[in-house]
Amino acid sequence: MMMVKLPGYEMLIHYLQQGLGEKQVFVPVSEEGKEGHVPLGSLNKVDLAQMTALTFQEKPLRNSIKSLFFPDTETYLTYRKEEGRMVMETPGEMMSQILVGAKACDLESLNLIDRVFLADPVDTLYAEKRAKTLILAAPCRQQGTYCRCESFGVDRINPAADVTMYQETADAAEPLYLKSLTPAGETFLEEMMKCGTEGEAVAVTEIPWQAVPPGEKPLSPQEVKDQMDTLFEHPLWEELAMRCLGCATCTYYCPTCHCYDIRDFSRQGQEAGERYRTWDSCMFTSFTNMAGGHNPRPHRKDRIQNRFFHKLNYFVKKQGPLACVGCGRCGDACPVGISMDTVLNRIGGDRHDA
């Protein structure tokens, strides 16, 4: 473990900018209502105050980090006919990337997706991105207003990243402390100390940063799973179905949702095309539509029920943990205000009432 003190956020960005040729760097940005990680190289102007505020705010960014590992549209292969033979090409190797400003819940969501995509058969596109991404995360001093990370057992104070970032106040001019947690993180800090930050970056033995300890007891996945088993026939699902719009907002913003559809693109008369995947959503009718026209989840009730059962029951049965990190994005984005809380408050009775 290595701890470093930088004079400010600017020094980190400055260092990262130097290495842009070899690495893709993603930083937190908010513009025109969109909040997410964008390539540092694409910015016309670096707004340090905003970047600092977004990094150290007590909630994750609106757009989850999953799209950096599992993009919403990703090409598997392209094909074309050449001299009577079909030629297929897969995408080349990706550039290593550095992600600045993730949150503990973001990292936990990656751990959950890992269980699915890194298990046999390994999703190689996802695995490559996981292996080639260095993550710098910032802890949350306290639980955000609409966050439920503590209930879902996420350690918001110690994000499982390569490097953790600390700052006393979210002020760009204040010193920035970095702590490595993995060998990759340590190498990153060593490199940074060596070039570009001479005299400015100093090794320290202590970081002056204090967090408010968690106040909520985590839910037991087993208990939630058992409770859900008794609720399959509950009228709640029809109630939610009468309010849900059937759009895909919740699933696309959810950091743990990872369903996708594989499609082929080709044009008549062109002997070329591509096979790609796009995010899919269990809230769409077409999600379970089968050849021949049968749809095992024909009603909106079935679909919304499946979404919550997948998070709170099926995933526990197959993988162990609950498939929710309590980030609150679904509730933020849903046009009719349905969130994980809506269900938890109902199934938990008095125990979990807000």
Partner: protein, 338 residues
């Protein structure tokens, strides 16, 4: 103003409870308080006791008309709380045989205009959960940690409501008007012309073609194809949507192709061009904050300018794009005058 919100709420609750108790309807579709501060969400009451959860305030934005076409509402007698824009959409749905008016009890509310939560938060300069609101006659009084301030309704109301001419549903369209008592409206008889409320349109029109293209590319490229704009729209009433078809080659969900986003958004705007009731749901529900309503408002402005004013859901059908005649302008004759 507190009195009118409270009295409308009370009146909705009483009417709903009476309808349910008498067995005249199977359910009442209205609004209740959401989990987030100053949020109201759609709510279905099926028992007289549940009617006490019905609520009315300037956050009841969600258009309720689209629900009436959903499977869960079929073969049921439904009472529905409706704002002016919703009632206009309902009238279109009836004229298109999408719903059976006989099975509906429409409770028209004297709508005072809706307040977008983000707009309120931005104007207040403080997170919503820290704010207590009091409806005064001259504006909304916000009490937060930074003290207390009063904002005029013009400053916080949705631009759609500022231009709205039909806030209260027409008496002929509803079974009952729920007016409430107290001050009449948040914006007292002040209607801002659409050109002023949607000044972005003029700004965009003044840009050069390349700049306009760049602007819309930036906006539309954010689209994640969640289809919430389509699903929330009270006049998007096709039973089966072109975008739900399986794999036609010109329609796919590749999100790295601007042409695919353009295709979706042009078609969406066009399909409701002459039926848009200006409720603003498309822009409100968009999680990426794409100003989709500008496309529709632009089409409305063009229709009005070239083919005369038409108010969908108020004026008699046929709608402007369902009829055409010799008397209309011909921009394509004489080898398309430049």
């Amino acid at each position: 103003m507190q009195s009118i919100m409270a009295s409308i709420t009370q009146s909705i609750q009483q009417t709903a409870a009476a309808l349910l108790a008498a067995g005249e309807v199977d359910l009442v579709l209205g609004y209740t308080r959401g989990e987030r501060p100053h949020q109201s969400v759609p709510f279905v009451a099926t028992t007289p006791a549940a009617a006490a959860q019905l609520h009315w305030d300037p956050f009841c934005e969600k258009a309720l008309a689209p629900y009436l076409m959903e499977e869960s509402y079929q073969n049921k007698r439904v009472a529905v709380v409706m704002k002016g824009c919703d009632a206009r959409a309902l009238r279109l749905m009836i004229s298109e045989s999408r719903v059976d008016r006989e099975k509906l009890v429409v409770l028209g509310v004297q709508c005072q205009g809706m307040i977008p939560r983000e707009k309120l938060e931005a104007a207040a300069g403080e997170p919503l959960h820290q704010l207590t609101l009091t409806w005064q006659s001259e504006g909304v009084e916000l009490t937060g940690r930074k003290g207390s301030q009063t904002l005029s309704y013009e400053a916080v109301l949705s631009p759609f409501c500022l231009t709205c001419q039909h806030a209260t549903p027409a008496v002929t369209e509803v079974d009952q008007i729920i007016a409430g008592s107290g001050e009449k409206a948040l914006v007292k008889g002040k209607n801002i012309p659409p050109k002023e409320a949607f000044s972005d349109i003029e700004t965009i029109e003044k840009m050069g073609a390349e700049e306009r293209h760049a602007f819309w590319m930036q906006q539309l490229n954010r689209c994640i194809r969640c289809y919430s704009c389509r699903n929330a729209c009270p006049v998007c009433t096709c039973r089966s949507c072109i975008f739900d078809r399986e794999n036609p080659d010109y329609l796919d969900a590749a999100k790295n192709q601007p042409a695919q986003h353009q295709f979706y958004h042009v078609i969406r705007a066009f399909h409701v061009a002459d039926r848009c009731v200006g409720c603003g749901e498309c822009a409100r529900v968009c999680p990426e904050g794409i100003p989709l309503h500008l496309l529709n408002q632009k089409l409305i402005q063009d229709l009005t300018q070239h083919y005369g004013a038409f108010t969908p859901g108020v004026d008699e059908v046929p709608n402007p794009l369902s009829c055409a005649g010799a008397h209309e302008v011909d921009p394509f004759g004489k080898e398309a005058k430049k």
